[in-house]
């Protein structure tokens, strides 16, 4: 058992689990005893997750190729499986799916321990969902952590295939090669959504643009799996046409993932423009508010 892991009940009933770099917000809905059993199972499972991942960090930080060995740990296998779908498209390491994979693993511990109407595990924006057939979740999309305004929303019902939601962007905690403010992906599982969101956000790009400040990833984090690749540190002024061009690159990759790699839908946002790819459930931009229309 990890003595580090911390489990907190938030005032509104959600739980916050923390261990090292992992922060989970989770909630289960159902009968009281089922909910308690689910939280207990989640805590038990969470206690060793970080140690398991760290045991295999070198492998998980290495590029995924057809020759890559299969990792040992359950979460590591989820990561490996999720990024396999994408290795043909792009450089990717299993770390691209770590947040979603952890969320999935904890969610599975909860649903395996109790009969729940619905549940979510949110790992810093990468979310694994459980929904009974008649249940639904309403998900809001936010452009950047500093300005938590909704730019769109999605309603996911138990009838939909979507069980994973992930968001990636250059302002986030992990590095991005692209300039998207936020790319939100809906997929059948959270690990796949996580990896896809990372890659699509990387693809929202304007190569060589002077207003974009980039630095080698290793300068910022000596152990980054991105090595000497240039990661986005700041994005200056862009014209409307440039924004459109960058989003079009990302949207093209998103469309390929919808067609070939099993994601349901993606919403890409850069500055004031939004692009939606794929049908998905009901992924829709929010109607602009009057105050913005005036400006």
């Amino acid at each position: 058992m990890s003595a580090r892991a911390q489990y907190t009940r938030l005032p509104d009933g959600r739980r916050h689990f923390h261990d090292g770099p992992i922060d989970l917000i989770l909630q289960a809905f159902g009968a009281d005893d089922a909910v308690e059993a689910a939280y207990a199972a989640a805590e038990r499972r969470f206690a060793s997750v970080l140690d398991e991942l760290c045991n295999e960090l070198p492998l998980l930080r290495a590029p995924s190729t057809p020759m890559s060995p299969t990792p040992e740990g359950r979460v590591a296998r989820r990561m490996s499986r999720a990024v396999r779908r994408f290795e043909a498209f792009h450089f990717i390491t299993p770390m691209a799916a770590v947040a979603g994979a952890v969320a999935e693993e904890i969610l599975e511990a909860m649903t395996g321990a109790a009969d729940l109407a619905r549940a979510f595990v949110n790992n810093g924006g990468d979310i694994a969902l459980h929904l009974a057939p008649d249940e639904r979740f309403s998900i809001g999309m936010v452009g950047s952590p500093d300005r938590p305004a909704l730019f769109g929303r999605a309603t996911i019902s138990g009838q939909d295939a979507t069980r994973g939601v992930a968001t990636s962007g250059w302002g986030g905690r992990s590095f991005s090669l692209g300039i998207a403010d936020a790319v939100t992906v809906l997929a059948r599982d959270a690990a796949t959504a996580d990896a896809a969101a990372t890659l699509i956000a990387n693809a929202v790009e304007l190569p060589g643009h002077a207003a974009i400040v980039r630095r080698p990833a290793r300068e910022l984090d000596p152990q980054s799996d991105l090595g000497e690749r240039l990661v986005t540190c700041d994005v200056g002024a862009l014209t409307s046409a440039e924004i459109e061009a960058a989003l079009a690159r990302g949207a093209a990759l998103a469309q390929r993932f919808v067609d070939l790699a099993g994601i349901e839908a993606a919403a890409l946002r850069l500055r004031d423009q939004i692009k939606i790819v794929g049908a998905g459930p009901t992924l829709a931009p929010r109607e602009r508010e009057l105050i913005h229309a005036q400006g």
């Binding site: 911390q6 989970l24 949110n122 924006g125 990468d126 986030g172 905690r173």
Partner: protein, 485 residues
């Protein structure tokens, strides 16, 4: 410990073991490299009293008239997660000013890194945990010692600078972990050299040698005789309340004499202190009344045949009423165990009923050193004096503290009054605990405070309320930060 590699430092707060460059944070966004030192940079917790479900947290201002009623509508900025640097050569992370009823108040909010800290444990039990001064261990490492036996409780002192810094590396780490877990309300298993093993958790009953302690004694054996003598009179000829400290004997005790109890000729083992009060009837242990006794007759040396009589009845009971036995003397004046008569059951149950639930309580104790005080004012000793003169109120995570008289600012706080997980640690090893100093702005200026660093309360609340994540689920804002991959 941190290993320096070039200008990077390696963090060992968790198994990710990040190398962190100067000015940057590790993967967790909680630990950072600041000028070559590992520091913790959690977002601080804004404890909004109206939504805090952690029970009552006392007002922190000295003048309750100025603050009562107003405070519950105002968020109180606690030091939890405020972050700090060591030594505190820079102003404390948050110096917050707010105006209440026209009086400018300043709260200096910081997290102290305490190498000089520990916990005082009060464990409600009569059972013998170990001899005084015996070493207390966690995970095999010495982390503290047994101090005194108090009324119904055993006191333990854990931590302190010697265990944290002077022992081996593992000793320091285990001590730090033990203090952290106890302070954050988590259970910790301790073993006492030459004594018991005990699981301690703030606000819960202790588990001693695997058995859950139920009750805290109502009094010593002698006191119990005094309290219940009238209820026993006429129902039983002799009562012995078995207690490792002071065993009471009804017929000899002043309380028995007063109601006219007849001599029974009982001869006790141990040393008679005053009539009806015996010390050291057995060895300390985890049996009856904190002795090592399993069969209570072991402490009875016999009966004087000139005084005792066949058919005489004897009740033996422990200080918590949890153990009891009833005897009747046969023709040879040998005690033969018999069923407890109904009219005595009530008195035994009443002893139990009067015992409070056994609890473990944890007080965190630490000294705010000169460097921490320097984060509050340019002239650290003036802060000490200001606290002495009651111009400055000290709180920890919003909870009231007891400040020891004498030099320095050495305080104790009941950990159960702080929000959960208010304590942290740095791998130094040392405990990170919140501390707030609240005083009038004019007093703050007078003691050389960093007045220029003071920020209005609304600004602190506003700026730090923005730390939200990028996706809402179900309409609620998750607290955690950004992507973890």
């Amino acid at each position: 410990m941190t290993d320096a590699v070039d200008d990077k430092i390696r963090c060992d707060a968790c198994p990710v073991m990040c190398y962190i460059r100067p000015g940057l944070t590790g993967a967790c966004d909680r630990y950072a490299n600041e000028d070559g030192k590992l520091v913790r940079v959690d977002p601080h917790v804004l404890l909004d009293r109206t939504i805090s479900q952690g029970g009552p947290i006392s007002a922190f201002a000295k003048d309750s008239e100025l603050w009562s009623g107003e405070l519950v509508k105002q968020p109180f900025v606690t030091a939890i997660g405020a972050g700090t640097t060591y030594p505190d050569y820079k102003p404390a992370p948050f110096i917050v000013s707010s105006q209440v009823d026209g009086v400018d108040m300043v709260t200096v909010v910081t997290e102290g890194i305490y190498s000089y800290c520990g916990v005082k444990l009060k464990i409600d039990t009569d059972r013998h945990l170990g001899p005084e001064c015996a070493t207390v261990r966690a995970d095999g490492e010495p982390v503290g010692h047994i101090t005194t036996g108090e009324y119904g409780s055993q006191m333990l002192s854990l931590g302190g600078v010697n265990h944290l810094t002077h022992g081996g590396k593992k000793e320091g780490r285990v001590t730090c972990e033990t203090l952290l877990n106890l302070s954050n309300g988590k259970p910790v298993e301790l073993t006492v050299d030459g004594g018991a093993s005990v699981v301690v958790e703030a606000g819960k009953a202790p588990i001693i040698n695997g058995g859950l302690e139920q009750r805290m004694r109502v009094g010593c054996g002698s006191a119990t005789i005094g309290m219940f003598a009238r209820q026993w009179f006429g129902k039983v000829d002799e009562v012995v309340v078995v207690d490792d400290h002071i065993t009471g004997v009804l017929s000899e005790h002043q309380a028995g004499k007063l109601i006219g109890a007849r001599d029974t000729g009982i001869k006790m083992k141990g040393r008679r202190s005053t009539p009806g009060r015996y010390f050291h009837v057995a060895e300390p242990g985890t049996g009856w009344g904190g002795t090592n006794v399993r069969d209570p007759l072991d402490i009875v040396a016999g009966f004087n045949p000139k005084v005792a009589w066949p058919g005489m009845t004897l009740l033996m009971v422990s200080t918590t009423g949890e153990q009891h036995a009833f005897y009747r003397l046969d023709e040879a004046l040998r005690p033969i165990e018999a069923e407890l008569p109904d009219n005595l059951k009530e008195s035994v149950e009443r002893i139990t009923e009067n015992c409070e639930p056994a609890l473990c309580t944890v007080l965190f104790m630490a000294g705010a050193g000169g460097s921490l005080r320097a984060g509050v004012t340019e002239n650290p000793v003036r802060l000490t004096r200001s606290v002495r003169e009651s111009l400055t109120t000290v709180t920890a995570g919003g909870a009231p503290v007891y400040v020891w008289p004498g030099g320095g600012i050495t305080f104790m706080v009941d950990v159960s009054l702080l929000p959960r997980n208010a304590f942290g640690y740095v791998p130094t090893p040392a405990i990170v605990a919140p501390i707030e100093f609240t005083l009038r702005l004019e007093d703050y200026a007078a003691l050389g405070g960093h007045v220029e660093e003071a920020r209005p309360l609304e600004e602190v609340v506003r700026r730090h309320a923005e730390r939200t994540t990028n996706v809402f689920v179900n309409g609620a804002i998750p607290r955690a930060g950004r992507r973890a991959s």
